[in-house]
Amino acid sequence: MGQMVITGLICGALLGFVMQRGRFCLTGGFRDMYLTKDNRMFYALLIAIAIQSVGVYTLISLKVFEFNAGSLPIVAVIVGSFIFGIGIILAGGCATGTWYRAGEGLIGSWIALAGYMLVAAMMKSGVLLPLDMAIKETSIETNSIAETIGVNNWLIITIFVVAVAFIVYRELKKPRLKIPGLKPKKTGLAHILFEKRWNPFITATIIGVIATLAWPLSVATGRIGGLGITTPSANILQFLVTGEISFINWGVFLVLGIFLGSLFAAKMSGEFRFRIPDTKTAINSFYGGLMMGFGAGLAGGCSIGNGLVMTAMMTWQGWISLGFMILGTWTASYFVFVRPSKKAKQAAQVITA
């Protein structure tokens, strides 16, 4: 129990710290691929996936633990990921983003988190469980990409790593844009940790390493898995209302750690303040949270569980989920950002005409 508490909290706190300081936001990343044709955050995600993939499969090859990709509940993954994508735009952050923004003092994220935990718990053990199970019934036997194609996992990983290396090389070759920054008030390590703008590719590299470390740390406590947000978030609520200690596992301390790590990072860099959303944002956050809980529950993972971890494990679930999650964010972005601005433009034209 002690080990679970300590390693879970430390791993989570590291992640929360790095994500807060590195502004690692997948919601924003997916959204900007569409809105501003900016793929940097998506490329950063690919780096984190590549590092974790090599790291975890090395550990598996060394027989540190075993991994079984299981089967693929294809309909649940597609529908759930799409709904999750819509939800994270409304909530203003994905599941992990919501945890770390809660640590920055954003009350809107607290509201989103409440909705997310509630529906996730309803899917895992509540009234929505029969629906969840019914949709998951349609499933394909093999979830491993390598197994379907009939090749070694390392071949897939190698091709992927080469592709990511090429993308990174091409990005780094581009001329650097000089972006105005804040005048530094701190020096040395304090400047780097609590002030400096972090390069997203470096942030992603650190996240890839943390995601790799998560596996052996979690496995050591009997939970076979890496980073995960949805089930642990549901587990917290399940434990609180049932008192069943069996709901407490490594993942629970991981997500609590994310909150604490982000809180620490934000406090130390003068970025913590309770911020109260207006009514519309608060309502959107809550709806977003509900959709996040439903979508991630159905898809068997959020942007971290599926988008970062199951992708690194080279499963169909991870990559199909990532694709539909991105489509969901684009769809919601159209209705939340693109259409209102088009309408405003049309209205302006009518007035001038």
Binding site: R23, G105, I179, P180, L182, K183, A266, F272, I276
Partner: protein
């Protein structure tokens, strides 16, 4: 002329969306001061200004999670 855009309390990416709208009404050489408190804006607003070729004349953290940035329209 200097226009002040107060978007405190707005979540990302709305401060940036609002800033893009607000700068349209300005003439070249006019300044737009954006007061915001979303942490991601500290990255996305100056990046947008740089990409568009506007000049950032002032950029300051004014308090706990509160920033102000002044952008001179190109």
């Amino acid at each position: 002329m200097k226009k002040i855009l107060e978007v405190m309390g707005m979540v990302c990416p709305f401060p940036l969306v609002e800033a893009k709208e607000a700068i349209k009404d300005l003439h070249s050489g006019d300044e737009l001061e954006v007061q915001f408190d979303c942490t991601q804006g500290t990255e996305s607003i100056p990046r947008w200004a740089a990409e568009e070729g506007h000049e950032v004349t002032e950029y300051e953290q004014v308090g706990e999670a509160a920033w102000t940035i002044t952008i001179k329209k190109k």
